[in-house]
Symmetry: C2
Subunit: 379 residues, 2 copies
């Protein structure tokens, strides 16, 4: 089961210099080690940057100009990497599996194991993933794009489903959770195992000035630069129930009440989830804050009311006894202290919540883990 990237055709070591197309990289060995290759006969120095390494590491050149690196045995996880050739960052040209984070692509591969078992596409029934355009009058946009996951079986019947609104972080977009986050695979697998309820998952765009991800709206083929305007200033939270939830409830077969509605997000999306839920205490019974950017709200905005009176709003929200208030963060996350302070506030007021602390920092390997732990607790 470790041989997850199939080695097809000839071995990488053969025919080098004759046909670089025959290189296979990565090669996942039966013992869990992984070999990476790059054919760069004229390069002076090639290094590897990877999520399984603590630091940029030299690759080794053979006589024919094939550079390689073989890992120690890796535990189950989704790993990302890229190369640096004489100072120039590039992707592995022999690995078509890439994911974008803001302006950069990394290659990735999967190793099977307890943490990653639900990140794989398995022989289970798959849900439908749709790119849907909805009107956003509050943001004065005729159309905005969201990713909608409909569980397997949705197409065949008249059942109504609960809804999770799953929000991305700063620099991300409506594709982030379904690509970097493996949300589709995690939901498919947990639902097939009976560990999570069948649910609709709505992944909207959380950048207040974007209609959609780069390239998917008019005149938008730009190079992304990270944080977008009107993303931390209440704009999204103010519009959320009016534009997003009302569209979803009127266009999909939802159970359109608080007890069947969850909101969760990572980083900026955690900030949004906190404030969307406490400003609408009758709308969401389940809340998930993953590495939430609690301290980053900007109050110089027409929508600053969103971020005011936290204590009163939390008091009202918790007086209604939310079914789940879930907080998770890595012990090296730069937002650790902000989350610790927020938990102290909840503790002082006696508000119940579930807290999960992982190792590591502000990174996708944690957000996938939190989602995998969070979905079975819903509905």
């Amino acid at each position: 089961m470790c041989m997850l990237l199939m080695v097809i055709g000839m071995q990488a070591q053969e025919n080098i210099g004759v046909n670089p197309d025959k290189i296979t990289s990565p090669v996942i060995h039966d013992d869990g080690t992984v070999s990476l290759y790059l054919y760069a006969p004229n390069a002076k120095k090639v290094t590897l940057s990877a999520s399984f390494l603590g630091h940029e590491t030299d690759m080794k050149r053979d006589a024919q100009g094939l550079w390689s690196y073989t890992t120690s045995p890796l535990t189950g996880e989704l790993y990302t990497y890229y190369y640096n050739v004489d100072g120039m960052r590039i992707n592995d040209p022999n690995n078509i599996y890439m994911i974008r984070d803001i302006a950069w692509y990394s290659n990735y591969f999967l190793i099977d194991g307890p943490i990653s078992e639900n990140y794989f596409v398995r022989e289970v029934k798959h849900g439908t993933v749709a790119k849907v355009w909805y009107p956003s009058p509050t943001l004065k946009m005729a159309q905005r794009r969201m990713t909608v996951y409909l569980p397997a079986g949705y197409q065949e019947g008249n059942e109504r489903y609960p809804v999770l609104y799953l929000l991305h972080g700063s620099g991300g977009d409506e594709n982030a959770w379904s690509e970097l986050g493996r949300a589709t695979q995690i939901a498919d697998n947990l639902i097939a195992q009976g560990k999570a309820k069948k649910m609709i998952i709505v992944m909207p765009n959380g950048n207040g000035t974007q209609e959609a991800m780069p390239g998917e709206y008019p005149n938008a083929m730009y190079k992304p630069r990270g944080m977008m305007p009107h993303s931390f200033d209440g704009t999204i939270e103010n519009s959320f129930v009016k534009d997003v939830v009302s569209y979803v409830d009127s266009h999909f077969r939802t159970k359109a009440d608080k007890h069947h509605r969850a909101v969760a997000g990572l980083s900026m999306g955690g900030l949004h989830s906190l404030w969307i839920s406490c400003n609408n205490p009758d709308e969401f019974d389940y809340v998930g804050l993953f590495s939430a950017a609690i301290s980053m709200s900007q109050k110089d905005s027409p929508y600053k009311y969103i971020y005011e009176n936290m204590d009163e709003k939390l008091a009202k929200q918790f007086s209604k006894k939310p079914a789940l208030y879930y907080i998770a963060i890595g012990d090296k996350d730069f937002l650790y202290k902000a989350n610790k302070d927020f938990r102290a506030k909840l503790d002082k007021a006696g508000y119940p919540y579930i807290y999960k602390e992982s190792d590591g920092g502000h990174e996708w390997r944690n957000w996938r883990k939190y989602l995998n732990d969070f979905l079975p607790r819903l509905f």
Copy 2:
């Protein structure tokens, strides 16, 4: 309107060697010329391969190690390119817009003009694009993946729509037409202008042993190698109406009759369209063969009946007077003669068809053009 890739932040020429992240590439100038950049201070030779060039062309190095190339003014088109650094093929690390053709990614950019005007995302109502899994009993697969385009307005009413089945070529998959083919944008724009009818477009997977594109089915993160088994041997044509059409008619609001059903495809998909339509003369009233691989059917198969008795099958099909039989090919296509011979057969029998001959060969710029010309003729 030519400045379609926005130049954000600093010019490429500034800060080189200090912060390569600030490079913008490509830069589309107001006069229709395009500048491409690569920061590779240690490279000895950098060349550019591009759809707007006839041959691999040297790029020019400046004193700081920034390589560049500026085109002459380009006409409206979707252009692809990649770099070759000292013999190593790479993508432009500053351009996140990439499309995959089998095992290789190329970067792309768009120039506006008469040919490409419908390739852009415009301020028009957008349809929904969904990845849908359907059972394929004839192929003995519990699930296969198709891309489904639902026209704007589908979500809001009870209208029924005609359906175009749009088939990819060898080495492609269910993502090919919506990515390389810009089918989503072409349909959105033609429908919004009133030039094409509102229709559902179904883009299935045409490889007989694949459940889905690489990476989207179990144990499938392999490096694609081109032609797949059981793609040219009648397997797909035999299963098509039984598995694909019956699922679509029972799960979407279609007008489920011959007069509201079209089948078209490029290369291998053109072969499939020819045989699907003539083996099912009561099912498809509109047929499109784009650079069809007419001569490539393999008759050593349990489904060889599909490819037998062409004359009799065409006679029956044309006796029912199809609403449209459309053939298009480039004058340098390697399949030109096979299509010429096929047209001679139709001519001899007196069967009417529309024929469009373009310049160029077996390439996506032609298939996008044919689709843009074909959609307004349907329904």
